[in-house]
């Protein structure tokens, strides 16, 4: 993992000179081993920044909050926000730029490269520890993980703890940044969509029961869409109520709000909700894995999004998150797009 001393220096300078409003970074969490989002307004707090494999969050999500905050303010502070991004997170920035949700001048991007590492998968860690609780997770000089529990330290090979998405990462370094910490090293990648094979190889009936079992657990807490930087709509199409209401919204508009699905957490409604979410993220999901991580019921949501990422690549040669000038996946086509499924 990159050392971030140079980044801290820059952060201090930015805050001291008032070039950024604040900096979104990672700090130590108070609950267990995981880092937590940290919002730094003062240069003296910069030393609270941490960078290690527990920095799993996609902080780009908070740019959405920042935009909403600015929209509420009468005279918003137009200075950029500093933000720490990993490779995957940086691709989220690219998508937000592509969709003109933010302007390049809204952000000062402090890129950190995961280099050969990535982030820890909490489910994998929990399984390894079988009930014990980790206090710290660190990386040693040999790029192995060292997990500290109440009963002492356990060493593990990186692959055993790294999130699946990190093992399938296309670029484990930021693709857009103002300052980059670390090297642009790439992990060799044989099967970029290898983790899907398990589900793809099932029969239709088995896939159906797999997803039913998974999605029946959903309680519609909407943590998945709340954690997602691409789910920035003010009003989600699956919501049955209007959220984006202004003085101009007519009673008819409110009355005509479509009930695509019910709020009730039932099998069919959960499935449709997640299908809508998946299709809306097609060509937009950059595989930061936050939806899956945030899910309290451990629904493997990443498999839905990753599947469409794979199809976009294989059917249309579309790769998301590298070029802000690219049209969106569904707002372009190629004459040779496959149509073997059409009669």
């Amino acid at each position: 993992m990159a050392k971030i001393e140079d980044l801290k220096e820059e952060a201090k300078k930015l805050l001291r000179e008032g070039k950024v409003k604040y900096i979104i970074g990672y700090g130590a969490g108070s609950n267990g081993w995981l880092a937590a989002p940290l919002f730094i307004k003062k240069p003296e707090d910069v030393d609270k920044l941490v960078w290690d494999p527990t920095c799993v969050h996609n902080l780009v999500r908070f740019l959405v909050d920042e935009k909403r905050r600015k929209a509420r303010q009468k005279q918003p502070d137009k200075r950029p926000v500093g933000i720490m991004v990993k490779g995957c997170d940086s691709r989220a920035v690219v998508v937000l730029l592509q969709e003109k949700f933010i302007d390049r001048s809204d952000v000062y991007i402090l890129g950190v490269s995961c280099e050969k590492m990535g982030v820890v998968d909490d489910a994998k860690l929990a399984k390894k520890l079988a009930g014990k609780k980790a206090k710290r997770v660190e990386v040693d000089a040999q790029d192995r993980f060292v997990v500290t529990t109440e009963d002492g330290k356990i060493e593990m090979a990186a692959e055993e703890l790294l999130a699946e998405r990190c093992l399938e990462c296309k670029a484990n370094f930021p693709v857009i940044y103002d300052l980059l910490s670390g090297e642009k090293t790439k992990r060799p990648l044989d099967k970029p969509f290898g983790s899907l094979e398990k589900i793809e190889s099932l029969s239709a009936a088995d896939r159906s029961s797999f997803w039913k079992e998974q999605l029946d657990r959903c309680i519609r807490c909407y943590a998945c869409r709340s954690a997602c930087p691409m789910c920035y709509c003010d009003e989600c199409v699956v919501d049955s109520i209007n959220l984006a209401v202004t003085a101009d919204t007519t009673a008819d508009e409110k009355a005509q709000r479509i009930h695509w699905i019910q709020r009730s957490a039932e099998s069919s409604e959960n499935l449709v909700y997640h299908l809508v979410r998946a299709i809306h993220l097609a060509g937009r999901c950059i595989d930061c894995g936050e939806c899956e991580r945030a899910c309290p019921l451990d629904i493997p949501l990443r498999f839905l999004n990753k599947k469409l990422e794979k199809e976009a690549k294989e059917l249309f040669g579309y790769e998301v998150g590298f070029d802000p000038a690219l049209p969106a996946l569904i707002s372009c086509f190629r004459d040779e797009d496959p149509q073997d499924f059409i009669r």
Binding site: I199, E200, A204, A205, D206, R207, S208, S209, F210, W211, K212, V237, W260, I261, Q262, E266, S268, E269, L271, V272, L275, V276, A278, I279, A282, L304, K307, L308, E311, A312, L315, F316, L329, I330, S331, F333, D335, D337, P338, Q339, F341, I342, R343
Partner: protein, 140 residues
């Protein structure tokens, strides 16, 4: 499956080609099963994935989207967007275990009454052995 099971199909037909093709089937007095209820849309490009999910959610056993042949779109290129978007929808539905036969897309021109008829016949025939669609359907 019970012999008298009749699948319920919603067909989104673009106004200029497929709906006209379906009209031609009528004018030519071709016969096909009455399982399909058509919804005329302006262009296959306007068929949102939400329509498809919703139709299945409200109880459709099959959904058909039919538009103009490539290059033939009344709106120049709407069917190309539809082709890309609905391919993703199809892949996604199959991925979550919906039988592949349940969602279909076709190109039917205004002159292809016969083709339209054949597509509906085949669709109904393929859906019958599958029985009612329960996966996306609310309160099946």
């Amino acid at each position: 499956m019970a012999e008298d099971y009749e699948p319920r199909i919603v067909a989104f037909l673009c106004k200029w080609c497929s709906s006209a093709g379906s009209d031609l089937a009528g004018v030519s007095r071709m016969e096909y099963p009455p399982n399909v209820v058509p919804i005329q849309v302006m262009c296959s490009g306007s068929v949102s994935p939400l329509y498809i999910f919703s139709a299945f959610n409200k109880g459709a056993d099959g959904v058909l989207v039919s538009g103009c042949h490539p290059g033939d779109c009344h709106y120049i290129k709407g069917n190309y967007y539809a082709r890309r978007r609905l391919n993703l929808v199809k892949k996604l539905l199959e991925y979550v275990g919906l039988e592949t036969q349940r969602f279909q897309m076709s190109w039917v021109s205004a002159a292809e009454g016969t083709k339209f008829t054949q597509i509906i016949k085949d669709f109904v025939k393929e859906l019958k052995p599958l029985g009612p669609q329960t996966k996306l359907r609310r309160n099946p």
